[in-house]
């Protein structure tokens, strides 16, 4: 059991001591964010002790810089620019000193050092005792939280209680924008292979001080992408006890100790980002100053109470309770906590694969959002799900442009990885070729409509996405005379990135078929509504007939002899990977074998066919799903963190309860235990989403079937109960399962029928 969760309190992650390796490691886990910005759990004085940190960065969601992608050999249509989320000035920076000693955790005489992340309240608290060289003992506590009420605000409170009077103590605060802001993710590897990547570790913006006192306000601008941000900060303390002074980007506070008398310092740092013209800078500065003035006048205590209240509301609908395994309970909450922290809420930003907890994957948005993370929001905070889908709608122009570049004259192709909507994947075989992202987004949009009943969104933004993606499919593919006129999609890559550039990936084709049918259905639903975007989309009858025909004749490769679904046309023609001859240290394969070695064998990085079948459980017979599961499980390495949760859920659905439990337990604590050995670069948000999916759609067997909420629970025997809540079409429904019983209760909204294995009931 990991030491962080040994305490048995299923809301608290507690770290004790001052081992740099532990503190460094927990920097990701202790990151705080609110979807708008986030800041890693680094120590306040870590600029003095770099060995205690991987990266102390603060990241604003969607705040990135670009630089040209350098290709050894260029080809037309390649992604042109990296988009790299860049750290902004760090508002956590503090320096504590006496007349002859500057505090840091490495050299100071410190005892009882402890950090506690309270998941329930969303507050990180650090406490310790510092005995200065002069012999003063200072009890110090530093709290921080990132506000949901004021999305721009990081609030911090430092409390110092001295045991001796008459010594001077000085605390300095700075917005630290003057040096490298930490290491880019994966730097160790990148240093060997790609000298250009080092560039990204350097400061990537220019900054300018707009005002100083009482509010320090910096205006920063990225070098290439012309994105602006403002960072403001204000310090509050009892002026009768301490003197404040400012110089440059620093504010210093000094006081003389009085034995037993606490000194409190509150600090609010605010972050905003925007595209701009000069007027915008002025407006935005004014706005940010107003926000800071407001939180300053409300005060830390009030802000904290409001924050705790917000966190409580979150847990009321979003918590999942497991009785019988307190450590797992804590791990699950940790995952839900970080999921909630990661999602952009303003319709202009999405969720990075690492949330805002690290710079891994450059802060990009992938299909991970729609397939792995979004379902949690769909069923607990649908307004956030809507915001995330609105982001996709907002980048439709870029997706249309991308389709043109790819030779498609009508419709849209979403970028495989992006922040600003443009393709940023420098390796198309496992990037642009994953055109399934179009259908993944379409599926998420359709599900949103089903779950929320938000018909207004569906017939406008939703319809636009569904129509434009449907248009793409019939142009990428064609009816293949050689296959009895089947509609084929060639030269694509499915979810499994160990098999690239193939024809008729089953997952892609199945999802494309659904996408076409969704679009047709939505058009019908939109026809009689005045608020729909149908007219401007100008969908012809002929177009719809083509979609119908393509959906109907969609090629779904199947091996009749072995009665197995084929991952793609040629998957079974490849030699099975020599798993026995592959030592443990050669995993993940992608770091030890050339793509052509991997691609020409039957070996999967992750769930592919099984994922398609899980998404549409009721479309496939139990026997088929079981056969396919058994086959693909043998050839899957799970080298991707997106894999195990899907295999686990399917295992649960086909009655392999033990396997389901094992898969779940393998990954539920992935980041806390650093299973993938790269948590330092940020949490695995998709796997966290997978935890929620595993519990709700896996063990509880919740799914939509014919538009109806349906359950087939298989609560693991290891737990005495599993409980959670769901929002569905305006209702709040509470589910409590035990290995033998199931209880469904409606907490809000009108009565509604739900389906269980045995019967339909109204709750």
């Amino acid at each position: 059991m990991h030491e962080l969760i040994q305490n048995g309190t299923p809301w608290i992650l507690r770290e004790t001591g001052n081992d740099p390796a532990v503190i460094r490691q927990n920097e990701t886990l202790f990151a705080l964010s609110n979807g708008h910005f986030g800041t890693r759990g680094s120590l306040e004085e870590v600029h003095r002790t770099p060995e205690y940190s991987y990266s102390r960065s603060t990241l604003i969601n969607g705040y990135y810089d670009t630089d040209p992608i350098s290709y050894g050999e260029w080809a037309y249509g390649y992604a042109t620019h990296h988009q790299t989320t860049i750290p902004v000035p760090d508002g956590k920076w503090m320096e504590l000193r006496t007349a002859d000693e500057v505090f840091d955790l490495k050299s100071a005489n410190v005892s009882d050092h402890e950090r506690v992340l309270d998941l329930k309240e969303g507050i990180l608290t650090r406490s310790f005792q510092w005995e200065t060289r002069e012999g003063v003992k200072l009890d110090i506590t530093i709290e921080r939280f990132v506000s949901y009420d004021y999305p721009e605000i990081l609030a911090q409170r430092m409390t110092l209680v001295p045991d001796t009077s008459g010594h001077e103590v000085r605390v300095t605060f700075e917005l630290d924008d003057l040096e490298a802001m930490g290491k880019a993710a994966g730097e160790e590897q990148a240093e060997d292979l790609d000298p250009r990547k080092k560039e990204q570790t350097r400061r990537r913006f220019t900054s300018q001080r707009l005002s100083r006192s009482p509010i320090l306000l910096l205006h920063i601008k990225t070098q290439e992408s012309d994105l602006h941000a403002l960072v403001g900060s204000v310090i509050q303390t009892d002026k009768s006890k301490a003197a404040l002074s400012s110089y440059g980007n620093q504010t210093a506070l000094s006081f003389w100790t009085k034995a037993g008398e606490p000194v409190r310092i509150d600090r609010f740092t605010a972050y905003s980002s925007f595209f701009t013209n000069d007027q915008a800078v002025i407006n935005q500065s004014r706005q940010l100053e107003e926000t800071l003035e407001r939180v300053d006048s409300e005060g830390y205590d009030k802000l904290k109470s409001a924050h705790i209240y917000r966190m409580q509301s979150f847990w009321e609908t979003s918590d999942i309770q497991i009785e019988g395994d307190p450590a797992l309970q804590l791990g699950i909450r940790f995952n839900l906590f970080h999921l909630n922290q990661a999602a952009g809420r303003d319709g202009k930003r999405n969720m990075s694969a690492k949330g805002l907890t690290g710079e891994g994957y450059e802060g990009h948005y992938f299909w991970d959002t729609e397939l792995y993370m979004l379902p949690f929001f769909l069923y607990t905070q649908p307004e956030i799900a809507r915001a995330l889908l609105s982001y996709r709608h907002s980048i439709l122009p870029q997706a249309r442009e991308r389709a043109r570049i790819m030779g498609i004259d009508k419709g849209a192709l979403f970028a495989w990885r992006t922040i600003n909507g443009e393709e940023a994947s420098p390796y198309y075989p496992a990037g642009t070729a994953q055109i399934h992202i179009n259908a993944d987004i379409a599926h998420a949009v359709y599900s949103y409509g089903q779950i929320t009943g938000d018909e207004r969104f569906m017939v406008k933004e939703g319809l636009e996405i569904l129509v434009e993606t449907a248009r793409f499919w019939v142009r990428w593919g064609h009816f293949d005379d050689q296959q009895k006129g089947a509609f084929v999609l060639n030269d694509v890559t499915g979810p499994d990135e160990y098999t690239a550039i193939v024809n008729n990936n089953f997952y892609t084709n199945y999802m494309a078929k659904k996408n076409l049918l969704y679009a047709l259905e939505l058009i019908k639903r939109a026809e009689n509504r005045t608020d729909s975007s149908l007219k401007q989309l100008d969908v012809s009858e002929e177009e719809q007939r083509l979609w119908e025909r393509a959906a109907e004749l969609m090629c779904l490769p199947y091996d009749e002899k072995h009665r197995l679904t084929m991952q793609d046309d040629s998957f079974f023609h490849k030699a099975v990977w020599d798993f026995e001859g592959t030592p443990e240290d050669k995993y993940p394969l992608l770091l030890h074998y050339h793509p052509l070695t991997i691609y020409r064998h039957q070996v999967c990085k992750q769930a592919d066919t099984v994922l398609a079948q899980f998404l549409f459980l009721d479309d496939f017979s139990e026997e088929q799903k079981a056969r396919d599961f058994d086959y693909y499980e043998q050839v899957t390495t799970h080298d991707s963190s997106l894999s195990r949760s899907v295999f686990g859920m399917m295992a649960s659905r086909i009655g392999k309860d033990e396997k389901a439990y094992e898969y779940f337990m393998d990954t539920a604590l992935m980041d806390i235990t650093d299973l993938q050995a790269n948590t330092k670069d940020g949490v695995h948000a998709a796997n966290m989403g997978g935890t929620w999916l595993s519990l709700v759609q896996g063990f509880a067997g919740m799914r939509l079937h014919d538009g109806k909420l349906t359950f087939s629970p298989r609560c693991p025997k290891a737990w005495s109960s599993l409980s959670f809540s769901l929002k569905f079409r305006g209702r709040l429904i509470r589910v409590k399962l035990t290995p033998d019983t199931a209880h469904y209760e409606r907490l809000e909204g009108e009565p509604i029928a739900i389906q269980t294995d045995d019967e339909q009931i109204v709750v």
Copy 2:
């Protein structure tokens, strides 16, 4: 008709006037080389007039520097370094001046400017009259040639004849290593897309002067690859007429004009390159100085006579005569001239795709050598063919290492593009995936044995190559139960680079089959020879049975319904490219469409299936070849310069005489007419080889069949005759064809039986 060849003398390329665009363009065409080094046809004073030049570089074959390849996204086994041939100090640099004027073609008062490349003698002569500001008229002639007798030597002679006495003229010579040596190929495009490539245009070596007088000797060393070169130069003139002085890297000569009295200045520049230790530098310097002393003492006239004699011998066996089209005759000779200039002759260097005429393709060696350029040498200068194949043998260690990286535990995989034997292709789908290069080399080796009877080479170096490549195939491929146990080769790219990463490319599989059979045959032949490498290769019986089985069961995809050979398993499943909807300016497609757009359609860049059938003409029925030709011709853009010659030859073989003639005429003058618009980067050596192939293997229908020289002539009606010579197993055979007759004559060696369409005859 191009102006260079309007003169009607079928040995002379003549350029008149001083249009910078023309002079710049002819810089590639007027390049002189001898396989060891080459120098572009730039003006001596072009450092003063950059608009008269693309690049004045001098290149030593195989002298390159490396720099890391930067990938947007790295993967295991990717090529790590660019290998870039780099220009060395330019020995053509001359500066001519009077007291108050420095000569250059742009500003000087020049008349009758002319440059003549005499293909017969291999000499480039520039002549003009310069009227100085002082009113002196100087008739100036500058000759240059690159010696075949002394592979290190560039010889130049400047002759000045003044019409007035009493004026001072000064000529300065320099080894120009002090500034950028011109532009890297494709720079205009690269500048937009890849800032790193600019790097390559900068000086990439350090230089040090070893001695100065009378011989100036520079030692240069590349920055990264640690390759050393020496460049030496010596000036000779009649010291009674002129004074010589040296300073730095310059030697200056001044004289006072005497009306009507010529002044001659001879200059020899020598180039050598080597890997080294300090002793090697000393030894090599001594050697190069000795060479320079020797040519200096022999004198220019003697060296020139020997050179002309060598050129005559070359033409005696290598010339192809066409009666009835003098311009074409000249164009063909131009191609043969450059082919001969391009080939490395020391077994350590090969032939770059651009010869030594430009920096295009970074000076890399491709399959072009074996498939397109080598046959000319095989049948006219087999000792050069042997040297080229010895180079491949010399890089077997790197090819073995490459196979290991590609997950193949035994055997070798030759690099797709390379100088030093290591893979330098930064784009594996059209690089490393073209594993057919292994079979291409094996086929060339086997052909060498057939044509020369050099059994000693075959059972040693040849056998090693054949065995190591055979070993590769049975490990890349496997017997596919899903295809009745056929031996399949998956995830490869064939010659056609518009179709990548496919299963069972027909060309690759057919060539691999031959490779396996060649290896088996050679093992038999080597068994009783003491000089063979059979023992050390340690080929087991079991291994040979596996090769036999793989060859026998090799998958050769065929569409029974349409009775067409399938380019690969899925080629016919793709939609045919919309040729009608593709405007002219969208060709070549690779510059206007994303790889996935191209790959997912039926469209070929170049001959693929047709090439396999041409290489083994007698293995396929006339009808089959005709059907496949018709089909693939429709979907081939010939965007590669390797394509038209193959289609032309096949057309000739299947009786499409008009088409054959058209294809031939389209490309025979490719570089002279700058058909591909990139001759500035260097000549298209493979296309030049294609010219020879088209005449000899196309129109004359020469091929090996059951080890016998075989002819099926179809001399175009446009020509009154077509004549050439061939070396075959120690004989020299002269062939003269007219549209209606064929005459075969043995000029050297023992009588031998040859096969014609009608009969077997002994010549």
